[in-house]
Subunit: 185 residues, 2 copies
């Protein structure tokens, strides 16, 4: 018997929920740093743009990402359980667009036009990333149509000097830090 | 017998990991939208500032947050399994500071100086939030010193009009959208 694909039976639903359209409307307001996640090897190399990278624990260092289980990246992760996380600077917007599929390219084609270097697992890491993390999959938690994938970080490269690229209201935006704009409480 | 507190035994660790300090250094580059999560009731009302809000699934609408299991908020969530997620605009920086503990206030004291209104669960929701989501806990996944808490959204309020408050390099920053700054690929 297969494991259940959803967790909706794990709690007694006591209240009706909001609708899908209302939820999508609200989520447009959720800002997030933009990362490109790189997965696969050789013929099945691919990757995707993510705004769901979260630091889970500092000791031991653990990070997680959220992956659509209908994606080529999820299929590749099953074959090769490691991945790269590349935190993008605002100048890397073209890379974000490409890995989000905005110009229609798939798989290895998405890697064109940018410089990539692996560290230990072989996952391609973007040379210009603010931080590039080389991860092994520790655990995957399938919930609904996505999976929460927890990674151990076995190598990394940091090239601070932002500012970062930020997703908000359906698009990727450059970020301008306004020093001294803090309001009095 | 208690459930295991970590998942470190779930995969064969094939490579040595990076160190804690190196991980913290890299995570300074991870930008994130800033939210205040509200939990508890009456005497044990509290909450915290989070940069780990993730949309898990649109249909059905599910969102998750990451909560430290040594926090007062985690204790309150055990007693009252619902919470509010308030996505902050840049003018709400004082609220972010307060719920991050930067002025030393705890529990109900953190709610002073801002306007809050509940919807259905009773969790306080910030009147000025870009989006305020009223959630029931569906499932909590304990991993290391944190828990991934998945919520069903049963009510919400959206007041678009940003820009959002964004966390990056250890601080909360206003965000300036620079229209037309997109670089050619």
């Amino acid at each position: 018997m297969e494991a259940p694909l959803t967790s909706s039976d794990r709690s007694a639903a006591s209240e009706p929920e909001i609708g899908v359209d209302a939820f999508r409307h609200a989520m447009r307001e959720l800002a997030g740093g933009v990362a490109v996640v790189t997965v696969g090897r050789d013929a099945d190399i691919t990757g995707f743009t993510a705004t769901s990278v979260v630091s889970l624990c500092a000791s031991p260092p653990r990070i997680f990402i959220c992956v659509s289980r209908s994606s080529a990246s999820w299929a590749a992760l099953q074959k090769h359980p490691c991945f790269g996380i590349n935190l993008l600077r605002q100048e890397d917007r073209a890379v974000a667009d490409r890995f989000a599929g905005r110009d229609g390219l798939e798989g290895a084609e998405r890697y064109r036009g940018a410089a990539w270097s692996p560290l230990r697992t072989g996952a391609p890491l973007l040379d210009t990333a603010l931080a590039a993390l080389d991860c092994e999959v520790e655990e995957s938690l399938a919930r609904y149509d996505h999976a929460i994938v927890i990674g151990r970080i076995i190598a990394m490269r940091v090239r601070a000097g932002g500012p970062p690229l930020v997703y908000w209201q359906g698009d990727y935006h450059p970020f301008e830090q306004i020093v001294g704009a803090r309001k009095a409480p």
